[in-house]
């Protein structure tokens, strides 16, 4: 069984206890979008401000578990001030990391390539490019919690699609 320390990395607990970019932006001009996890009742409110193709400001509201709250906090810190294109790319990379099968996670002495299930042959994810967000990698060992980690990202993606259609 995967241990709790795989799930609750120190950086996750830090963002849970001291969430970054907490609150809401006045809307308008900011765009406000809500996300729900129907399984557990977690709710998230993402306020985003897009100016000249840049996600100039973002705030996170709502309530949820440590995984959904820390993921949202880490996300807000990672995307604030970035061009929308880059934000979309980061969303894609993060969600790809969340869909990596547990069996393919790198282990000691195991490149993780010797699997036979073709469904596992997804495009390789550059976890290194995710920086602090990589701390959420362990969530995939707890499949029920993946939706907690992706809630804010899906909500942000929806918000971006509404204000800045790709």
């Amino acid at each position: 069984m995967a241990g709790l320390e795989d799930l609750y990395r120190e950086i996750i607990l830090d963002h849970y206890r001291s969430p970054r970019n907490r609150g809401e932006l006045p809307s308008p001009p900011a765009h406000r979008v809500e996300g729900f996890n129907p399984l557990c009742g977690d709710e998230i409110v993402v306020s985003l401000q897009v100016e000249d193709g840049v996600l100039s400001d973002i705030k996170i509201g709502g309530s949820g578990c440590s995984i959904s709250q820390s993921s949202a906090s880490l996300m807000s810190a990672a995307v604030k001030g970035k061009p929308v294109d880059e934000v979309r790319e980061l969303i894609g990379t993060f969600k790809a990391m969340m869909s990596i099968h547990e069996a393919t996670l790198p282990r000691d002495g195991d490149g993780g390539d010797d699997h036979e299930d073709p469904s596992l042959d997804a495009a390789p994810v550059d976890v290194g490019s995710l920086g602090e967000l990589a701390a959420l990698q362990g969530v995939v060992k707890f499949p029920v919690r993946i939706k907690c980690a992706t809630l804010s990202w899906n909500t942000l993606a929806q918000g971006l699609d509404e204000v800045a259609p790709a």
Binding site: M1, G3, L4, L7, Y8, L13, L39, C40, G41, D42, E43, S63, G64, C65, S66, I67, Q69, F142, R145, C148
Partner: protein, 420 residues
């Protein structure tokens, strides 16, 4: 003592013996058995239920109500015997005609909405619900309200999780139906169904009760409850998944149109129409869950053997103990929802921790072999009323004892340490 007073005292529940019937709870999982505290979601099944189902499959299986060969007749006999046993378990006046087998309690409630509701409720008609209903007794009425333009009214709850019935006369005035749970799956509140039914009936409204939580844990007499329909599920009462029950008064059921269409529910089919079957088969289109009915019968026999009064007494004791332990060891760190006294509630304890989200609590508890539920418990209107998005919930079955409660408390301590 029984001899002195002349009254029968129910034999106390021998939990150690009960527990041996449940393989999952006896298994040694790394040196400690599972502390299963999620029976309000689904109970475990004793060996005799599994044995009964397997024995039926191996010796007696054929489709029911069709074959004229011996095995098929025996399968039909046993299926119908399960129906009668189910009816008797809840005090049904006409057990062979008033018990409808469904997929689960949710389908039972939907059956009422589709048949009775569609026939009797029209634009502007009123359905009265309570703030503590499970989604299964909310959404079917929301759907019908949308389709028919019904008005929904809500009986509020007070801060102890009791229904506020002061205004009941006004709420049910002009209503066609009152939909109310016999026992809240979140708060554990035991609602005064008979009192509600009396007021509802005086106003000309029927009462559909959600018995999913109450029937498995309390002796049930539908006549005393005064309701017109009651729904419950086998899998919360030591039986299998895949079968639920709707009980309805014979005269009411006899007057209702069919639910789903297909085989079994007809007497005759022509190119230009059909003649529906008699009750209860009119509501049971297609091949029913036969082995599951056999399993439910075995579960009911087992509960009868344990004695529902003994089950209830045990759960009151365990609930009182758990409420004390949580208050003593955690004080203001933990908020418990629902009635404060154990004898006013079922064996369901919803709580939140001041600093730890229910989801995180449940995750840490799992590491200690303690299974609880975390989430909105399919009762989002109630969650909003309580001002939370989720709670943690520990719930009991006849196989739980004080050790399980102690392990819950120990694991909560660990969680508090971990997230401190």
């Amino acid at each position: 003592m029984a001899g002195v007073t002349g009254t029968r005292v129910p034999p106390a529940l021998d939990v150690a013996t009960v527990r041996k019937e449940f393989a999952l709870l006896s298994a040694d999982r790394g040196g400690r058995p599972l502390a299963y505290l999620d029976s309000a979601a689904s109970s475990q099944r004793p060996a005799r239920v599994l044995d009964a189902m397997r024995s039926y499959e191996e010796t007696t299986h054929a489709n029911v109500h069709r074959g004229v060969y011996a095995v098929a007749e025996e399968a039909t006999r046993r299926f119908e015997a399960a129906r009668v046993a189910t009816g008797r378990f809840i005090g049904a006046p006409v057990p062979d005609r008033e018990v409808v087998f469904t997929k689960n309690a949710t389908e039972s409630l939907n059956l009422v909405a589709h048949t009775w509701g569609r026939r009797n409720l029209h634009a502007g008609d009123v359905v009265v619900l309570t703030e503590m209903e499970h989604h299964a007794n909310v959404v079917p009425w929301l759907m019908l309200a949308e389709e028919r333009g019904l008005e929904l009214r809500w009986i509020p709850i007070d801060d102890h999780g009791f229904l506020v019935l002061d205004d009941l006369d006004r709420l049910v005035d002009g209503a066609g139906l009152v939909a109310v749970t016999a026992m809240s799956n979140v708060l554990g509140t035991l609602n005064p169904l008979a009192e509600i039914a009396e007021v509802a009936h005086a106003a000309g409204a029927l009462v559909v009760a959600d018995g999913a939580q109450s029937v498995p844990h309390l002796a049930t007499d539908v006549t005393a409850l005064g309701c017109d329909f009651i729904a419950f599920s086998a899998h919360k009462m030591l039986g299998p998944t895949g079968i639920g029950v709707l009980w309805g008064r014979e005269a009411l059921l006899a007057d209702l149109p069919p639910f789903l269409g297909g085989g079994e529910m007809i007497l005759d089919v022509r190119k230009d129409g059909f003649t529906p079957n008699d009750i209860p088969w009119r509501f049971e289109a297609g091949t029913p869950p036969i082995a599951e009915a056999i399993g439910l019968h075995a579960a009911i026999d087992y509960l009868g053997e344990l004695g529902m009064d003994a089950v209830r007494a045990h759960e009151i004791d365990l609930t009182a103990y758990a409420l004390d332990v949580l208050a003593d060891r955690f004080g203001a760190d933990i908020t418990v929802y629902g009635p404060p006294a154990a004898d006013e509630r079922g064996g369901v304890i919803s709580f939140t921790h001041r600093d730890i989200h229910p989801h995180d609590l449940s995750q840490v508890l799992d590491q200690h072999g303690v299974c609880i539920r975390a989430g909105h418990h399919c009762a989002k209107p109630l969650m909003r009323r309580l001002g939370v998005t989720a709670t943690a919930r520990a719930s009991f079955g006849p196989y739980n004892d004080r050790t399980d409660v102690d392990r819950l408390a120990d694991a909560l301590d660990e969680a508090a340490r971990f997230f401190a």
